[in-house]
Symmetry: D3
Subunit: 130 residues, 6 copies
Amino acid sequence: MTDTALERGRAITKTFNPTLEKTLAERYDDDVPDFAETLVEFAYGRIYAREGLDMKTRQLITVGALTALGGQTAPQLEINIEHAHANGASKTEIFETIMQMAIYGGMPAAINGMNVAKQFFDKQDQPDQN
Amino acid sequence: MTDTALERGRAITKTFNPTLEKTLAERYDDDVPDFAETLVEFAYGRIYAREGLDMKTRQLITVGALTALGGQTAPQLEINIEHAHANGASKTEIFETIMQMAIYGGMPAAINGMNVAKQFFDKQDQPDQN
Amino acid sequence: MTDTALERGRAITKTFNPTLEKTLAERYDDDVPDFAETLVEFAYGRIYAREGLDMKTRQLITVGALTALGGQTAPQLEINIEHAHANGASKTEIFETIMQMAIYGGMPAAINGMNVAKQFFDKQDQPDQN
Amino acid sequence: MTDTALERGRAITKTFNPTLEKTLAERYDDDVPDFAETLVEFAYGRIYAREGLDMKTRQLITVGALTALGGQTAPQLEINIEHAHANGASKTEIFETIMQMAIYGGMPAAINGMNVAKQFFDKQDQPDQN
Amino acid sequence: MTDTALERGRAITKTFNPTLEKTLAERYDDDVPDFAETLVEFAYGRIYAREGLDMKTRQLITVGALTALGGQTAPQLEINIEHAHANGASKTEIFETIMQMAIYGGMPAAINGMNVAKQFFDKQDQPDQN
Amino acid sequence: MTDTALERGRAITKTFNPTLEKTLAERYDDDVPDFAETLVEFAYGRIYAREGLDMKTRQLITVGALTALGGQTAPQLEINIEHAHANGASKTEIFETIMQMAIYGGMPAAINGMNVAKQFFDKQDQPDQN
């Protein structure tokens, strides 16, 4: 790995969400300069780019954690369900991950996570309606 | 699956933590009757027993969620690191899971999770010292 | 108690929310088989069915905890305010429970809980508008 | 209620924890002037002093919320278990309250709450050992 | 400081949010008598009124904490961004505060805080559209 | 700013905690390669290095957020109290920041934060005892 963390992050996001950095930059960089670059460098270049754990498992772990954290992370949960799906996680695996969080984050967290997943897969199943 | 959730939970825990229900019952059932049975039935019989996601991935997801949740879940994190390891997750996979949580639960949560994992694997490496 | 946890859970929910399991099953069981059964068995059959604490107090404790947890639990808070009211808790007792949480979960949690309660009781007072 | 919130708070804490304000003042008021007074006025004078909910139920709600919140609230949970017990809540009612939180705050939160309660009642049962 | 905490709280809120107590009272005091008075006395009279830290820094600290807490505190975050701005904190200082929380509360908390700030400043910049 | 985020992070930590990266690397890098570098690059190079907010205010905001988050962040709270103090924040400003969190994170969070600060300043006042 001779490239920088930022380059590694860009290479990874390109494979399953090519417009991620551009979308973030357009939305946030006027108010928070370099925000998009920071997120891609740190989250993808420094963490998802790491060896030792395959990308699909990483994505399911993220779906689980965002479910358990609950609170205002619903928008991020939806994005990461999309990433998990794009990295090969099946609909069933995603729902199972979310349901499991009932043990650790409580039933309300699991139910709200299931609602986010339902919303995402409903959109997937009816692409023309969006 | 013709057996009950409780039977399924008992069958599963037997494979990687055979004394779990007994340990819990001895510690809690005087004050909270049926606590051990409830946990085995719900967490293992109703959730870990489910199809659709392999046990090793389930355990890594749990390690991730407990790390992200932070707070008082350190004792449960240690137990679930043990379970993940017993289900085939390598030391590296466990540390990677925890490190990844820095993105979602913040750096302090990841650092504290890493401390719990270090403590667990240090004990593993020096069995005679315990 | 010779019946199973699932039977106990069904008996209890029947008294104040007869359609709970059916509503949950219709919404979630395609994606998460047995979800509704799991919730009724665990939450109601294993916990609310327990002796040692009267149902009205249990429901107020739940209203308090969901308020303190804040985050994404607002939908569950509304359902449990309804359950608490159906089990004999007065509007005043419910608001007092929520207000008390300002000490433990902070002022924002209490205010947001109060907003959920206001919404619920406003609907109650104007049944035809819904 | 012609007396001030501070007077009402002092009157209430006197009935079940007469040294509360003095203990808090000795520990914190050098660094945070008026801290003890603020806590007694706000928590007890403005909230526990309110009408509409009996003190025992209020205390059980607090035990539930502190259990669900988990994290660093263990010391406060122990104090409030003591207050709940001093206001007439039985050992069983306290354990039932804590166990119930498994649904909303997750199993780890409930288990850790049970550990705090066990520790408190163990001390109660062996007063000479302390 | 010979005046009471309530008087001090009223004096402070008058300087940057003159209608705060009245707005809160109209919304909440029917259901939770004295709620508005309690909040003004405790939050402003007992805390923001304290010496030792300037008001602008206090407000930025609040913006940071509400961002890190995430969850349902978005409405309070918007109000406190308004208060911080009214006490001299620049748009940049507010965004920097929120961005910093990525380290401690995680990226989702920071992103959601940035969304609340964007919404607030967008309204500021287009007053006629509201 | 022609230097990289990692270089900027190193330059900043050098001014108030020169051994931070080395301490972290010795403790964590065997298990989580590049952990220390990641933290210095992200937290200090990408965030504390930003313009628009002075370092002392940044540190106080961090102390506030870690207090409000509660949970397992006590070790990080102590380190950041040290950093805040090294960047010019007085003992009073630090305690005021923590106390203020009672409004947003609840009284238990504030009390536990105060305990961490007391412990830190007690050590400061008795250097020979450590």
